[in-house]
């Protein structure tokens, strides 16, 4: 490719006319994006969005933006999944409608998006929204940094989306193994997009994780000891610590790969003294903890949902806390299980296999504790609870196949086959995704004031569970026959029926998603009937329910004093759940700031310029990033006060709502 000073490697060839399907995809993105922009303009919503959302430093709004970003990326990831399932259902004897090159981009973007731009933002969104409320805090420790984290994540996601329209995406999978991803084998910009997207969003995620760690350590309500935090905060703490310590692995792996590609170095090349094995090592030092970063907060959600809907206390709080810590620490000791088949000697393989199995113990104890929480309860089967029950049963199957993979001689057979794909979807969908859905349904009324529609929620649930089993159980079977992952077509006629069943499963999931969209619409339409400002729709046990729905910007007019676990539940038992003092003080909150958006935008440009080797632009935006940070450090007057009258007005409105519900004394 020839490069120019002005545009680097960028030219008209970058547009996706290499395949009609890719061009159609690009068109959807472009016109969809333009449509959204037009709609916002037509509604004259820009000033509102800018003022209330884009420049906001309120952890609740940032949390919701994270979830919104995740839902958008989910759609993209799901379209990818459907395309793959359709391809494999048809692809007997190199038929199918996708070229291998296109198929490869799809599984790479599916994996990358689902892990980094769907699951992580979704979890960070929920944690952002819920953790300060559960801690009885006014905000996270560093509100502005929180906004920056979000916008950097969004910039990374935008880079992935742009690759669909301008240029191509990586074909190296979400793990991006060299030497395949080295310049000599992947000369296009795809891998560069992948690297830049991960590096940019990685910075955001690290900052976000630091923020949560500090919030949990230092911002708890007066009196709240660590062992009195709700379990979700514990899992958020452990997941954040994992992110702080694991993400460097990704940064180093992707960064060194980038240096190979950009500066001709020899970290992972086939020649010049490169060592491809070190990439696998570095990547999985990050990659394994990563899957626990995803699952731990989900565990926390289930630990909030199950007791609430069992109308009972959580069983074995201490044990659950220790089990969470165990899992977090152990997850740093097992990474080699992703490359048992690289050829390390039996002592090494056996050691890491054994360490991996140890994790099954604390996880199993958690499962038992959830069951015992339901034991002798009064179970209400609202949708969050349904997701939780489906999780327990299905997750155990995935855990068992995980342990199978942890036995090195068995992994020699199953590695890189569809058995592995089935294992991890079996963890990610019933574990992470069902957890996210449970949390979404559980905290939705907190964030908006009205609940999600139950009937459509149940329908979605049925389609999802059935769809999951149909889509992934056949892959276990295929794994036994040695069917490999990332396969665009095959020549074994007897495989096809399994792929067809899997495609039907994906369609069922699609039906589930459609139900969820309808659910959202129906719920919004019915909100006049269902809205409740009082704030405690489920009979919750933790502090986030001790505010109005939606909570005011400052969360708590008076910071609650906490001296027990399940503070809100205890307060209700003692008959004094709410405190409404006579007099309120003004409350200091951070002002809005456009630093986050600016940094996100500039980083996006930086990433894009680097992908296309437009060096002048890259240098300029790098200076921009540094300049923005320095300029911001000179800002004074970064907070404002909410007046006592305003606080009082809100609190008395809320008080009226609560009293009207007759809940104040229950």
């Amino acid at each position: 490719m020839n490069t120019s000073m002005l545009l680097g490697k960028l030219s008209l060839d970058a547009l996706p006319f290499y395949s009609p399907i890719a061009a159609a995809g690009a068109a959807v993105i472009v016109f969809g994006g333009l449509g959204v922009i037009a709609l916002i303009t037509w509604l004259r919503a820009w000033p509102y969005l800018w003022r209330e959302w884009f420049t906001s430093t309120d952890h609740k709004k940032i949390g919701m933006m994270y979830v919104g970003l995740a839902l958008v990326m989910l759609m993209r990831g799901f379209v990818d999944a459907l395309m793959m399932r359709a391809q494999q259902a048809m692809a007997m004897n190199a038929e199918g409608y996708l070229t291998p090159d296109h198929f490869q981009q799809i599984f790479s973007s599916h994996g990358t998006i689902m892990i980094f731009f769907m699951a992580m933002p979704f979890l960070f969104g929920l944690m952002n929204y819920v953790v300060p409320l559960q801690l009885g805090a006014r905000d996270v420790a560093f509100p502005l940094m929180n906004a920056i984290s979000f916008w950097l994540t969004a910039a990374g996601a935008a880079l992935v989306m742009v690759s669909l329209v301008i240029g191509v995406f990586s074909t190296g999978g979400w793990s991006g193994y060299p030497p395949y991803t080295e310049l000599s084998y992947s000369p296009t910009v795809g891998v560069d997009y992948w690297i830049m997207a991960l590096l940019v969003s990685g910075v955001g995620t690290t900052l976000g994780a630091i923020n949560l760690v500090v919030t949990i350590y230092k911002m708890r309500a007066p009196g709240m000891k660590l062992m009195q935090m709700p379990l979700f905060c514990w899992t958020a703490l452990c997941a954040s610590l994992l992110a702080v310590f694991a993400l460097p692995g990704l940064t180093v792996a992707a960064g060194l790969l980038g240096l190979d590609r950009y500066l001709g170095m020899h970290f992972f090349t086939n020649d010049g003294g490169g060592n491809v094995m070190n990439y696998a090592n570095l990547f999985w030092i990050f990659g394994h903890p990563e899957v626990y970063i995803l699952i731990l907060p989900a565990f926390g959600i289930f630990s909030s949902v199950i007791p609430t809907f069992s109308q009972k206390k959580l069983f074995g709080y201490n044990v659950l806390v220790y089990a969470t810590m165990c899992i977090a620490v152990l997850s740093f000791t097992v990474w080699l299980h992703h490359f048992f088949t690289m050829g390390a000697d039996a002592n090494v393989n056996a050691f890491f296999g054994i360490m991996t199995m140890v994790i099954a113990v604390p996880t199993g104890v958690k499962v038992y504790d959830w069951i015992l929480t339901m034991f002798r309860g009064r179970l209400r089967f609202d949708t969050p609870m349904l997701w939780s029950i489906a999780f327990i049963v299905t997750f155990v199957i995935g855990g068992m196949t995980g342990v199978i993979l942890a036995i090195p001689p068995l992994d020699y057979v199953f590695h890189n086959t569809l058995f592995l794909i089935a294992h991890f979807h079996n963890m990610l969908i019933p574990g992470v995704l069902f957890g996210l859905f449970a949390g979404y349904a559980y905290w939705f009324p907190k964030a908006t004031g009205f609940p999600l529609d139950e009937a459509w929620g149940r329908r979605a649930f049925i389609f999802w569970v059935v769809g999951f089993y149909l889509a992934f159980m056949p892959l276990y079977a295929l794994g036994f026959t040695g069917a490999p992952r990332r396969m665009a077509y095959y020549d074994q006629p007897e495989w096809q029926i399994y792929f067809v069943i899997a495609a039907i499963g994906a369609l069922s999931v699609l039906a589930g998603i459609i139900c969820q969209v309808i659910q959202l619409v129906v719920s919004i339409r019915n909100r006049d009937r269902t809205t409740s400002f009082a704030g405690d729709p489920w009979g919750g046990q933790t502090l986030e329910w001790a505010t109005s729905s939606p909570p005011p910007e400052y969360n708590f007019a008076v910071l609650p004093r906490v001296n027990s676990l399940d503070a809100f539940e205890e307060a209700k038992e003692s008959g004094q759940p709410y405190v409404w003092p006579e007099k309120y003080d003004p409350i200091e909150v951070p002002r809005n700031s456009m630093t986050g958006v600016l940094l996100g935008g500039t980083s996006f440009v930086l990433g894009f310029a680097a992908v296309w080797h437009i060096w002048w632009l890259a240098a300029l935006s790098l200076l921009g990033v540094i300049g923005i940070v320095i300029a911001r450090s000179f800002a004074t007057d970064t907070t404002r006060f909410i007046s006592a009258d305003e606080v009082k007005a809100h609190e008395s409105r809320w008080r009226t709502a609560v009293l009207a519900q007759g809940k104040a004394s229950s």
Partner: protein, 207 residues
Amino acid sequence: MTDQPNQHPGINISHARPEDGRHTEVTVFGFWTFLMSDAIIFALLFATYATMVNRTAGGPTAAELFDITNAFIETIVLLASSFTFGMGAVALKEGRVGGVRLWLVVSLVLGLVFIGLELREFAGLAARGATAQASGFLSSFYVLLSTHGLHVLFGCLWIVVMLAQISVFGLNRQVRSRILRLGLFWHFLDLVWIVIFTVVYLPAVAT
């Protein structure tokens, strides 16, 4: 939330200034968390270097390349700058703006001298054909060293910004807290350097 005096690791200015302490406690803890994340990056680069030393692809080896005198001078310069920064911190505690300025400038100069020495070393190596592209070993050497070097450069920029902020704001709470974090950062870089000369230079010369 804790009732104990909030003195904080680092430059420890809060004995006399309790209201600083509460604010600083949170930011400093966050900064420590960041530093620890950064430490993992360095640790992984060290591990990479250690597994790459022998991958010289027929090119020059560590023993042939490294000059221990230069490494020693660099070490002393960096150690000295760590010390002068400490003196600046003491001046900060005593509230002597002039002292703070002076010591910050001295540390800055020493930091720049260090970067200069490092660049001179790189140029010398490159002149002998030992570039980052020459072998896996040299790639890992350059990346490890320049990651540290870029951190020092960043620290220098930060010092400049703090000098400017002292001029604009005086030693107000924000500025003090930032200088405190900058100090942590600066000392941390010295820690990393200890590992660098122990892992990179000394074994190479010893063989």
